[in-house]
């Protein structure tokens, strides 16, 4: 409990499992992240209907036991305001061992809530939840050119093991 109180003192938010009521607030945040990804590579150009697709995906995932969907909610004066989103999933590695992989697909926080150790809190909380869902290894997916993410994960012991190489047709 003391540990949690300490964390709250640093992080101006708390992570909780998302509910169907959150989808309206979470979808635009997810879209912001995808637009940020577009900044890193033109092959990540977002679709025109991205907001609708984001809502659809969130609706499906919120009911999927293999999916992890977390909402970051402000505390204090920002109580009740959704300020970030985390998407993850546990999937089977068919050819490799250990077999269950917890993958972090998306982490997005509104600019004002970044820094101050928030990333650390989000990651450890997310990893703990993926682990609770059975994950034996944790991975993260993000655009290759996103050096901020790549440094963030490298600092926390992650290393690149596979990569996606793309070419427009």
């Amino acid at each position: 409990m003391t540990e949690n109180a300490e964390r709250d003192a640093i992080a101006p938010l708390r992570l909780r499992v998302a509910t169907p009521n959150d989808i309206g607030a979470l979808a635009p945040l997810l879209v912001r992240l995808k637009r940020l990804n577009e900044e890193f590579d033109p092959l990540l150009k977002v679709r025109d209907d991205v907001l609708d697709r984001a809502r659809d995906v969130l609706k499906v995932e919120i009911a999927d036991p293999k999916a992890l969907l977390l909402a970051a909610e402000g505390i204090g004066p920002d109580q009740g305001k959704i300020v970030g989103v985390v998407r993850g999933r546990v999937r089977e590695r068919v050819f490799y061992s250990p077999e269950l992989e917890g993958v972090i697909l998306d982490i997005y926080l509104l600019p004002v809530y970044r820094r101050r150790g928030v990333g650390e809190y989000l990651l450890s909380e997310t990893v703990a939840r993926l682990q609770a869902m059975g994950a034996q290894i944790v991975t993260a997916e993000f655009p290759t050119q996103n050096q901020i993410a790549s440094q963030f994960y490298a600092k926390r012991g992650f290393r690149p093991i596979t990569g996606t190489h793309a070419k427009a047709l």
Binding site: R32, L33, R35, L36, E39, F40, L110, P111, V112
Partner: protein, 482 residues
């Protein structure tokens, strides 16, 4: 964008000093256009005649070729060895102490945009002339053919041994910020980007007097900066450093008030982290959303450094500002709102970038003196503390000359001001431990006065001696205005 939001005094004659009364916008504009057109024609004729504006001239006696045994081999080898033993002696045994490079990639020249390095040259030559004439600084124009910021940075690193300081000029925003930051971190000499710092320092000096004159304090004023280009981003930083509350500072660009909830924040984080940081620092300055009209409501101060179109700032918006508002409309050649219009809408103090209206915010008030100061102190860098020393001195000197609504800054004619600004910068560099050359302030002042007085005298003497050819389109050589 602060495109064109600065001045080039030497190009505009202080003809018909405006009273700030009764100029009709339409007439003013057409007169101004005709004037600019005529000046352009004259510039191109005289450019063809003189084929360059500066040349190197010996500053040592050369009576015969024999003197070269001192100025060149064999004597010079000893000088070379001395510098090899102590590289800092390059500042005292060569002209490095007074030589700077004017570096540009030609990516944002005047209001012309990306004209490239060759077309940037005449402008850089003009700047070199200003550096010499106003600051006594030997400036070498160096437009570079570079595609990426890294190439510019590497080139400047490699030429740095020849120079006492570097002036970056007409480089597009936001790459100008990263280039300045990177070079300042790498090189042991001052790096300056005039489009940011020159304009910002002169703006902030004017503001500090305007604030005092209207009975305000910076801490409690609400400021709106319209245009989030190089100049206003630097202005925001300097204002905050001087005690302005960032939560009462709104930056406004084409997309509206810069606020951390804005959709383009992540794009800014990647492409313009300086603007991104200001968004987080200011949080919109207490304005929740909307554009310039919403931001101005109740604001004390407007600094527009945006588009050179009169009417960009509307009189109705000025009317909604706090009582006795301060309006700086800095776009050149046409201010965002004409001074008379701003005043009739209630503005207590109006400043523009033009010499034909009162209160000219002009980077030429700043850069020659700042360079004189850092060069005389052989400073290793030029942190904001030095810029603020220049700001404070400039503001104080304006007060000495008599503060009023139409005199919040020294004019370019008040040439006694500049050596004082130089001395203030040099002494501050000593205080901060950045100076290779430590003197008392009076010594710096005397040195600056001598060095800054000489070029005008030199130019006049050369003309009198017939060594500078009089302008062919003038029958009688024009007398120096200084």
């Amino acid at each position: 964008m602060a495109r064109g939001a600065r001045s080039r005094t030497a190009k505009r004659r202080p003809a018909a000093r405006g009273t700030g009364k009764g100029e009709a916008a339409g007439t003013d504009e057409s007169v101004e256009e005709a004037k600019t057109l005529a000046l352009g024609e004259r510039s191109i004729r005289l450019a063809a005649f003189y084929q360059g504006k500066i040349e190197t001239v010996p500053k040592v006696p050369v009576r015969s070729l024999e003197d070269f045994s001192i100025w060149y081999t064999p004597g010079i080898a000893a000088v070379s060895r001395a510098i090899e033993a102590d590289p800092d002696r390059s500042f005292e045994l060569t002209g490095r102490w007074n030589t700077i490079a004017i570096v540009t990639d030609g990516s944002r020249v005047l209001g012309l945009g990306n004209v490239g390095p060759r077309a940037a040259m005449p402008v850089m030559e003009g700047k070199a002339l200003l550096f010499k004439f106003l600051g006594g600084v030997d400036a070498i124009p160096l437009p570079l053919d570079v595609a990426r910021p890294e190439e510019l940075i590497e080139t400047v690193e490699r030429i740095a041994p020849a120079f006492g300081a570097i002036n970056l000029e007409d480089i597009a925003s936001p790459k100008c910020f990263s280039i300045l930051e990177t070079l300042a971190g790498k090189l042991p000499i001052p790096i300056w980007h005039d489009d940011q710092l020159g304009t910002a320092a002169s703006t902030v000096a004017g503001l500090s007097n305007a604030v005092a004159l209207t009975g305000r304090s910076l801490r409690s004023t609400r400021v709106v900066l319209f245009g989030a280009g190089a100049a206003n981003i630097a202005t925001a930083r300097l204002l905050i450093a001087m005690g302005q509350d960032p939560r009462k500072l709104s930056l406004v660009d084409q997309k509206g008030v810069l606020h951390p909830d804005r959709e383009d924040m992540d794009e800014l984080m990647i492409r313009n982290p300086w603007k991104y940081r200001l968004a987080l620092q200011t949080r919109g300055g207490g304005v929740e959303g909307g554009g310039i009209a919403e931001a101005l409501s109740g604001a004390d101060i407007l600094v527009a450094a945006s588009t050179p179109v009169a009417g960009t700032i509307q009189a109705d918006w000025v009317r909604t500002m706090a009582p006795d508002p301060i309006v700086f409309a800095l776009a050149n050649p046409t201010p965002e709102i004409w001074p008379a219009t701003a005043r009739s809408a209630g503005a207590a103090i109006v400043a523009t970038g033009r010499s034909d209206f009162p209160n000219q915010v002009n980077n030429s008030l700043v850069f020659p003196a700042v360079f004189r100061g850092v060069l005389d102190a052989r400073a290793r860098s030029i942190p904001d503390e030095l810029v603020l020393a220049a700001v404070a001195e400039l503001a104080a000197r304006a007060r000495d000359h008599g503060l009023s609504e139409t005199h919040i800054l020294p004019t370019m004619a008040e040439t006694d001001v500049f050596p004082h600004v130089a001395a203030a910068v040099a002494s501050r560099a000593v205080e901060l431990g950045l100076a290779r050359e430590r003197h008392r302030r009076e010594e710096f002042l005397e040195r600056a006065q001598n060095l800054m007085r000489r070029p005008a005298k030199l130019a006049l003497e050369l003309l009198r001696a017939g060594l500078t050819v009089p302008m062919p389109d003038e029958r009688i050589p024009r007398r120096s205005r200084r």
